[in-house]
Every structure is written in C-alpha cells, then in structure tokens.
Amino acid sequence: MTMIKPHQDEDDIFLEPYFGAGRRQQPEPDTAFLGRILADAEANLMSGCRTVAQRPAAKIDLRQLFASIFGGWLPVGGMVSAGLAGVWIGFLGDVTMQSYLGAAPATASTVHLMPDSLSLGFAEE
C-alpha cells in the first residue's frame, strides 16, 4: 500500500512503490561475513591488550634508586666511616681500651640517681 504525504511531488508518488520494494528487499549479509566482522572487532581488542603488555618497562636508574634510599653519597660516606670505626674498635679489643681507661679509679662507686624514700618524706611507719 502506497502512503502519499501532502508534500510529496509527482516523482515521490511514482517512485514510492519502488522505494518500498527496495526497502523490503534489503540485501542482508550472511553469517560468515558477520563472523569476520566480529573476528576483526575481537582481534582489535586483543591487539590493544598486546600493546599494553608489550609496552617497554621503565628503565631503572640505579644511582637514582640508591640516592632515594640512602639520601645521597654524603650520608653514605658517614655511614661507612662509622662502620669502619666500629670494626677498628672491635679488633683493638679490651687491652687497648684498658690503656685508655688506666687513669681512672680502680674502685667502683655507686651513684644514686633517684633519691631514697626517706629523703622524700615517706618514712616507714
């Protein structure tokens, strides 16, 4: 059935049955073609994933990493000096240390850092 609209001219009126037939007989793709389209779409998704996976890893700058952990060469120098000093003292041992402490009094004395309970006014009853 042909529907005629008010604004249609003679060509429209004549052609409408043909256009109607054309619309009803649209060429449709077969499933194999749609399968190829879908395969392309999925391959394109996968290639996107590969790009992400193959993205080169960022280069690690060892000097920068070292500096970020220890705070640079100057503090590391200090730490090495302190370490070597510790090793030296360990090797010299007790004998050498006694020579440094020789002038000190031989008897031990006790120093009370905390006042006893009496001096604080808590006499025992």
């Binding site: 042909t2 003679e10 060509d11 429209d12 004549f14 052609l15 049955p17 043909y18 256009f19 109607g20 037939a21 054309g22 619309r23 009803r24 007989q25 649209q26 060429p27 449709e28 793709p29 073609f33 749609l34 190829r36 389209i37 879908l38 392309d40 779409a41 999925e42 394109n44 998704l45 996107g48 994933c49």
Partner: protein, 192 residues
C-alpha cells in the same frame, strides 16, 4: 538487531564500551553495524564480494577509532554511512561492476506469490535504475529513500550542505522516474 543483547543501549554508548575493551559490545555492534554497512555498500557496488570488503574495511576503521570516540561528537551510523559510501565510491571509480543477477533476493512470506513477484521486479528495476545515476545522486537517494536518513544526516554523511542534498535527491528522483516510467506497465504498477 534481533540478537542484540543491549537493545536499550545507544550505538554511541556501545562504541564507548567497546573502546574500553567490552567484548559483548563488540558482538552487539557487529550485529547492528555490519548489516548497515553491507547494505549501503551492496546498493552502491552491486557485487557481494566487493560490498563485503568495503563494509569490513569501514568497520575495521570503526573498531580502530573506538578508543578515541568522544560522546556527542557524531552519530555512529552517520559516521559509518559516510565511511562506507566513500570507500564504495572509491571502488566504483576504480572498477564499476554491474551484477544485477547477484542481487540477493529475500522472500517476503506475508505477501502473495503475485505481490512478491511484482515486488521483486520493482526492486530489481529500481536497483537497475539506481545503477545508472551519477554516484552522488545515487548515494543521496539511497540514504534518503531506502535507508531513511534525514537530509541533515545525509549532509553530514556526504560532507556537504542540506541544500545540496535536497538538490541531489530531487535530480536523482527525476532521473529515476524517467528511467522507470518506460517499464511501468510491464512491472504491473497499474495493478495497485
């Protein structure tokens, strides 16, 4: 479109989902856009293998631009019409193929055998007449009267102005009328 699981989702939203890696969007877009691209290519080229190549190429471009697609930039179907029509036009310029016998025929079960015969004859006569139009006129007539696009949509698809589209369709219809009138009685048009 019948097997489309995201019928409520717009083409644009599906394309953005696809651009974000959604595989189900790939399937639904294939079902929506594959037949559309194929129809336009087939109408213009009249050769199944070439139409499939062109439609596949157009859709490949759609898949590739999906990650950059910005909401509201363009209508997906209009974009696809434009790309498909441009690719088909390139093919036509290189090698024009007129294969009327290869046009697929789809049975319409609701019509009587006589009506179907008349419909087939009209569809073939229309396609034959369309093939004789200049490329731009044919493209405009197909998009307007077969695919049902509005003139502004066609203007975007054909990268021209609305007035130019109106002129192209008017001249195309005038030429089609002249070509088809000679066959009118033979096709049973007076029967309606």
């Amino acid at each position: 479109m019948a097997l489309d699981s995201n019928r409520a989702v717009s083409d644009e939203a599906l394309l953005i989902l696809y651009g974000n890696g959604d595989r189900s969007a790939a399937r639904d877009l294939t079902l929506r856009m594959g037949p559309l691209a194929f129809r336009v290519a087939m109408r213009m080229l009249r050769d199944t293998a070439e139409a499939e190549d062109v439609a596949q190429d157009a859709l490949l471009r759609l898949w590739k631009i999906a990650p950059e697609w910005r909401k509201g930039e363009a209508k997906v179907t209009t974009w696809l019409y434009r790309v498909t029509a441009n690719l088909a036009t390139d093919r036509l310029r290189k090698r024009r193929v007129l294969g009327l016998d290869e046009a697929p025929e789809i049975e319409d079960d609701s019509a009587s055998p006589y009506d179907r015969m008349i419909d087939d004859a009209r569809a073939q006569a229309l396609q034959s007449a369309l093939d004789q139009l200049p490329e731009r006129q044919r493209e405009a007539v197909i998009l307007r009267h077969i695919e049902g696009l509005s003139n502004p949509q066609i203007a975007v698809a054909m990268e021209t102005g609305v007035e130019a589209v109106e002129s192209l369709t008017a001249r195309g219809k005038r030429a089609l009328t002249a070509l088809l009138k000679g066959q009118r009685e033979a096709l049973g048009y007076d029967h309606d």
